[in-house]
């Protein structure tokens, strides 16, 4: 099974949105452009993937039309006989993404995943099951943008687990789907994970750690200033279609660093260097993980907070930072440096850190979550929770 070229993959991810198109009066004509149709055939009757009515998917995806398409590789194309499943995103994702109370549930490969994404996936699963039972053992490419990327990730690992056929996954601007065990399993079991991001797109940065991505990050554009427009497929700010089409194959793209495994210490005196962008979001996460790991707190933090949702988890992290500061003066400096950088990241450089207190650590972490969420969905604010203890 040959890997899709980024150009074909991104066109398929965009094409999936056309499943929104049809109405009873004006039925949709499935007419993919030349880039797609050179390689894949679609059938106007059979290619639509339509959710079951009355389910979560119908509610979240706001559809009575469809959530995507599947196509079959043409004999003369690069993917003869293989199946492609393209799933679309939706504006309805914003609530799910920024829901800090959302917990975990058991995902398709028996590892913990985001409960909101999994609920949506569960209601499109019956339709995929019908399809998979018919296609036999053909290799499958799963493609999606935004929520479509999260659903494609769940679909890919479910198909792999259940049908044991070759599966490759291609996402653009996908949010994070699960914690580390899910990501590791998806990465190792699938026959390829091609996760493309515009670095200025905030959506791939949420939900925040302990949610992590599966697979290497392929960076289509490297500007680090975070902007909502960078999540879009079309247009030139920078636009996933435009950036992905520049590359003949995935191997020619820049790969992101494995932030989860690097060691980062932030000195309090340097805190003013930090400001709100993708680079510092990564540095701060990396510094937080370094501190939690080296102090041995990481497993107890995860054990206490992971199941109950992001807000509770970051409350546990705030307490852990206070405890870490009390272990040694070195850790106290590291914690202070971390909080100082977060305060600058969220645009509150005037708040001084003397000692790492629970109150300050909690406020700083909440401000950080709030700032990221504000960008992901401008309307939502978690401010009312800050007074909560």
């Amino acid at each position: 099974m040959k890997t899709l070229s980024p150009r074909v993959a991104v066109q398929l991810a965009e094409f999936a949105y056309e499943s929104l198109g049809g109405t009873a009066q004006r039925p949709m004509v499935i007419e993919p452009n030349r880039v797609i149709s050179q390689h894949f055939a679609f059938d106007s009757q059979k290619s639509s993937l339509v959710g079951v009515t009355g389910t979560v998917a119908e509610h979240v995806l706001k559809h009575s039309t469809g959530f995507g398409f599947f196509g079959i590789g043409r004999n003369e194309g690069d993917h003869a006989g293989e199946v492609v499943i393209a799933i679309r995103g939706t504006a309805g994702i914003a609530d799910t993404l920024t829901d800090l109370h959302c917990g975990l549930t058991v995902g398709p490969n028996n590892k913990a995943v985001h409960a909101g994404f999994n609920r949506t996936f569960d209601s499109i699963k019956p339709q995929l099951a019908v399809l998979l039972s018919k296609i036999g053992s053909r290799p499958v490419h799963c493609v999606g943008h935004s929520l479509g990327g999260a659903l494609a990730t769940l679909a890919a690992s479910w198909i792999k687990e259940k049908y044991k056929i070759p599966v490759k996954l291609y996402t653009f601007g996908s949010p994070r789907v699960g914690h580390s065990p899910f990501a590791v399993q998806a990465e190792t079991s699938l026959n390829g994970v091609y996760r493309a991001v515009n670095r200025s797109d905030p959506v791939p940065m949420v939900p925040v750690w302990p949610f992590v991505h599966a697979g290497n990050e392929y960076r289509l554009s490297t500007s680090v200033s975070l902007t909502g427009a960078a999540h879009k497929m079309l247009g030139d700010s920078p636009g996933y279609i435009k950036t992905a089409s520049l590359y003949p194959d995935y191997t020619s793209m820049e790969k992101g660093s494995l932030v989860n495994f690097s060691i980062t210490r932030l000195k309090y005196v340097n805190r003013h260097h930090a400001y709100f962008n993708a680079f510092w979001a990564e540095r701060i996460t990396s510094a937080l993980l370094t501190l939690l790991r080296e102090s041995g707190k990481i497993s107890s933090v995860l054990a206490q907070g992971a199941i109950s949702g992001t807000l509770t988890l970051y409350d546990v992290i705030a307490r852990a930072l206070v405890e870490i500061s009390e272990i040694s003066s070195e850790y106290a400096e590291d914690s202070k440096g971390l909080i100082g950088h977060i305060l600058n990241f969220v645009g509150k450089p005037g708040v001084k850190v003397v000692d790492v207190t629970y109150r300050l650590a909690k406020d700083a972490l909440y401000w950080m979550l709030e700032k990221l969420n504000k960008l992901v969905k401008s309307a939502i604010t978690i401010a009312p929770y800050i007074g909560m203890s």
Partner: protein
């Protein structure tokens, strides 16, 4: 952050000029329908009637919308221009127009939408002047002299017969 409150200019379709014929003779008095849908949500429809010489005209469609402020919206306009003639529908233009701003490539095509009802509908690609990696595509019964690359991918295999 304040993007949700801002209103954007959205170009949905260039002005349309063309001539309708049947086997070479002009068709007058025929209704031309234009259907536009922006971001899979916002619909616009208008009509005109062809003159005795078969010519017709539809103005540019431009609207104001808040949709582009939403980072999760997909900004393209589905464009469909059809005529009905003796109980059959013919497509003069079907395309997905990307973005918010008028493109000269689309404008050129739509300013000479000359179709003969006896012609077959074809898929074709036309040049994107600003990004050579991203060609435009449309389908139509009309024909153009320049920048009009018909493509046919119909092979005879029925890939879906067992599904």
């Amino acid at each position: 952050m304040f993007g949700l409150f801002k209103t954007y200019d959205v170009h949905m379709c260039s002005e349309v000029k063309g001539v309708l014929t049947l086997d070479g003779s002009p068709l007058g008095g025929i209704v031309v329908n234009r259907y536009l849908k922006f971001a899979y949500k916002l619909e616009k429809e208008d009509q005109t009637i062809t003159n005795q010489d078969g010519s017709f005209y539809l103005p540019e469609v431009k609207i104001q919308s808040k949709i582009p402020g939403d980072m999760f919206s997909q900004e393209s306009t589905f464009q469909l221009i059809t005529v009905n003639y003796s109980d059959k529908s013919y497509e003069l233009w079907r395309s997905k127009f990307p973005g918010l701003v008028e493109l000269s490539e689309y404008k050129k095509k739509l300013s000479c939408l000359n179709g003969d009802l006896s012609s077959e509908k074809v898929n074709f690609a036309f040049q994107n002047d600003t990004d050579e990696n991203l060609e435009f595509s449309a389908s139509s019964i009309c024909r153009w002299e320049n920048d009009f690359e018909v493509y046919q991918i119909n092979d005879d295999t029925d890939y879906f017969k067992d599904l």
